[in-house]
């Protein structure tokens, strides 16, 4: 019954975008999530942690986050997510919004 924690690393193909400062975005509502993006020296890679009550979607999580990391060309970022059954569409959207916050 415990919460599931999913951890993995990934690397963007043309990793070049680094964060100036950490950012937090979102609310863990039903079907929603919050995310922290933090700069972190990872040799150009990205470290991901997802905490969620739902299990069995590991491959989809990986795919969604990798797509985001690739599109944003992120490097040296730790991504920490608290999820409450967000759909992949919502996950993509929140990640994108979190990133947009850093630019704002």
């Amino acid at each position: 019954m415990a919460l599931n924690t999913l951890e993995f690393d990934c690397k963007a193909e043309a990793a070049s975008v680094r964060l100036a400062a950490p950012v937090h975005y979102g609310v863990v509502g039903s079907g929603d999530l919050e995310v922290i993006l933090e700069p972190c020296d990872l040799g150009g890679g990205v470290k991901v942690k997802v905490t969620t009550p739902i299990s069995g979607f590991d491959a989809v999580w990986r795919k969604v986050v990798e797509t985001f990391v690739n599109r944003a060309r992120l490097a040296d970022v730790a991504i920490d997510i608290n999820d409450n059954n967000a759909s992949p569409a919502v996950v993509s959207m929140r990640l994108q919004q979190a990133l947009a916050e850093t630019a704002a």
Binding site: G31, N85, P88, A89, S92, Q96
Partner: protein, 554 residues
């Protein structure tokens, strides 16, 4: 010499029944509440086709319940022919053995029981229709012998006022009465003078003032407070990539939060895109409260309604340039005419669905619920009998590469049929599936066909948060399937999309992502909505809109 044939058996049979009922019918055709069940027992005979009026809005609920109380020993094996079965009483008649067979269009809250009763052999299903299809059959092979209808008011002669919620009443009464059938009406009130006569007294056989006003469901009210950023993103894509791209003027909006979002974006984002006057000028639509800001901003020239919507009475009355209102000032909403307009005179239908398969067939059916169709399929298809042209219809047709394979070089248009939904729905259920649940339902409920709301070949555009698939631009099924995969996101079907294939489709303008459309998803925020809550709608209407109690949060 051949035997003399009786040519008026129906008429004589009706006369007999009415004679048996005469003692229950007083002056002005009025029947007392306590006499309604014996009245029904007098006029209904075993095996009759019987209509109980009701659709997804108003319901002849008192008469429906009265029909449940007749003695099944006297009255049984009825064949119910009616638009919808949303009330418990509509199914109770099958449970009690009063009715046996059902032909209908829309299941509503009882759709689970319909499936169950079919499986248990309590209910023999004729067919599931669209409204228009069923109305057509009222005039051919499914003519009701007895119809139980509802109206707001009757006068002392038995004339009826159906007013704001006219809906199915004219077509039911006309089909029944002109084939010598019997029409019994429940009304909320009997008055000296009606605001206007919608149904003349000589088409009515009996009138009862029901103990409670008839039930009516505010089915088309969407609280703007529940419109999400994802709805807004999809709505922005629709407005820019479809409404604007094709300049569609004559539109029906299926009910849902996507179309509510579109309606609420017209005065803001629509205006930014310069679309006012170029799109949404004529609509076939219930009086959606979320249309108020667009109407107030001068977007809409005319709206014809299928039915009424609770709380919109005063607003509609005060906007007679837009709505079809009678000499008394109140709306008349004739569903048969609205559906006709919806089938023939629209350039676009846009709605949402629960599931869509890899070919683009879509359905709202789940494995254990016979939900029915209502009117959507008549609007969500290309009307093959259409012969007039409009620019948007022609453009959509011109873009169909395979048109010439069927009709050579003859120009022909095509209705835009748009399905918009998020790739995952409620509870993370994928909207894109290999096989529709409709197949399972067909099996479970012993249907001849899986109930498909909109067939793949009718869908011209598919919109998800990933982008728009312009299916009308696809030359063949393979390309259509690829385009569907390209917008199916992280569903299993979407994960099968090949990046290079998707890129080709984007280059060819068959798939457009938000980026291709020049829409930044981060700007899809609720600030864009012309009204963000029910209160805003009331304010937009200048206090004319009077939301039902359950929608009032102040």
């Amino acid at each position: 010499m051949k035997a003399e044939r009786q040519w008026n058996t129906l008429e004589r049979d009706t006369a007999q029944r009415m004679e048996a009922a005469a003692r229950f019918i007083g002056p002005g055709k009025q029947v007392k509440v306590e006499d309604v069940v014996p009245l029904l027992e007098a006029v209904v005979r075993p095996g009759d086709k019987v209509n109980v009026e009701g659709n997804n809005q108003k319901q002849a609920d008192f008469l429906a319940e009265a029909l449940c109380k007749v003695d099944p020993a006297k009255i049984h094996d009825l064949h119910m022919v009616q638009s919808s079965v949303p009330l418990a009483a509509h199914l109770d008649v099958f449970e009690k053995g009063i009715a046996k067979k059902l032909d209908f269009a829309f299941g509503g809250p009882q759709s689970g029981r319909v499936a169950k009763f079919i499986r248990e052999g309590k209910l023999e299903l004729g067919a599931i229709h669209t409204y228009l299809e069923l109305f057509g059959r009222y005039c051919l092979d499914l003519t009701p012998r007895v119809s139980l209808i509802c109206a707001y008011e009757a006068d002392r002669e038995g004339n009826l006022y159906t007013g704001f919620n006219t809906e199915d009443t004219p077509v039911i009464v006309e089909a029944t009465k002109f084939r010598k059938g019997i029409v019994i009406a429940q009304v909320n009130k009997i008055v000296d003078k009606l605001p206007r006569v919608d149904i003349p007294a000589d088409w009515i056989d009996a009138v009862v003032q029901s103990p409670k006003p008839f039930f009516i469901e505010p089915l088309f009210t969407r609280d703007p407070g529940l419109v999400t950023e994802r709805h807004i993103l999809l709505a922005m894509m629709c407005l820019k990539g479809i409404y604007g791209e094709y300049g569609v003027k004559r539109i029906n909006h299926g009910i849902g939060f996507l179309t509510s979002a579109i309606e609420l974006l017209l005065p803001t984002y629509g205006e930014e895109l310069g679309l006012k006057g170029k799109t949404c000028t004529q609509m076939v639509l219930n009086p959606h409260p979320t249309m108020i800001p667009a109407i107030e901003s001068g977007w809409v020239e005319a709206i014809y309604c299928f039915g009424g919507e609770l709380g919109m009475e005063d607003y509609v009355r005060a906007r007679s340039d837009v709505f079809f209102t009678g000499p008394d000032g109140s709306l008349r909403s004739n569903r048969a005419l609205a559906q006709t307009a919806g089938h023939y005179a629209l350039d676009m239908f846009i709605g949402s669905t629960l599931q869509i398969d890899q070919y683009g067939n879509s359905s709202t059916a789940t494995a254990n619920r016979v939900a029915g169709f209502g009117g959507a399929p008549n609007m969500g298809c290309d009307a093959k009998g259409r012969r007039h042209s409009t620019d948007s219809w022609l453009k959509c047709g011109r873009e169909v590469p395979s048109m010439n394979e069927l009709i050579g070089d003859m120009p022909r248009g095509k209705r835009l049929v748009v399905q918009g939904m998020e790739t995952f729905g409620e509870g993370r259920a994928p909207a894109f599936v290999d096989r529709l649940d409709a197949w399972k339902l067909a099996e479970n409920a012993k249907l001849d066909l899986p109930p498909v709301m909109i067939y793949g070949d009718d869908v011209t555009h598919l919109v998800t948060e990933e982008g728009i698939a312009y299916l009308n631009r696809c030359a063949n099924l393979d390309t259509r399937m690829a385009a569907i995969r390209a917008v199916a996101g992280y569903t299993e079907i979407g994960l099968r999309a090949k990046p290079e294939e998707t890129k080709r489709l984007r280059d060819d303008g068959i798939v457009k992502t938000p980026e291709d459309l020049g829409i930044d998803p981060d700007t899809a925020t609720r600030d864009r909505l012309a009204a963000r809550n029910m209160r805003d709608l009331v304010d937009w209407s200048g206090g004319l809109y009077n939301p039902p109690a359950r929608f009032r949060n102040w």
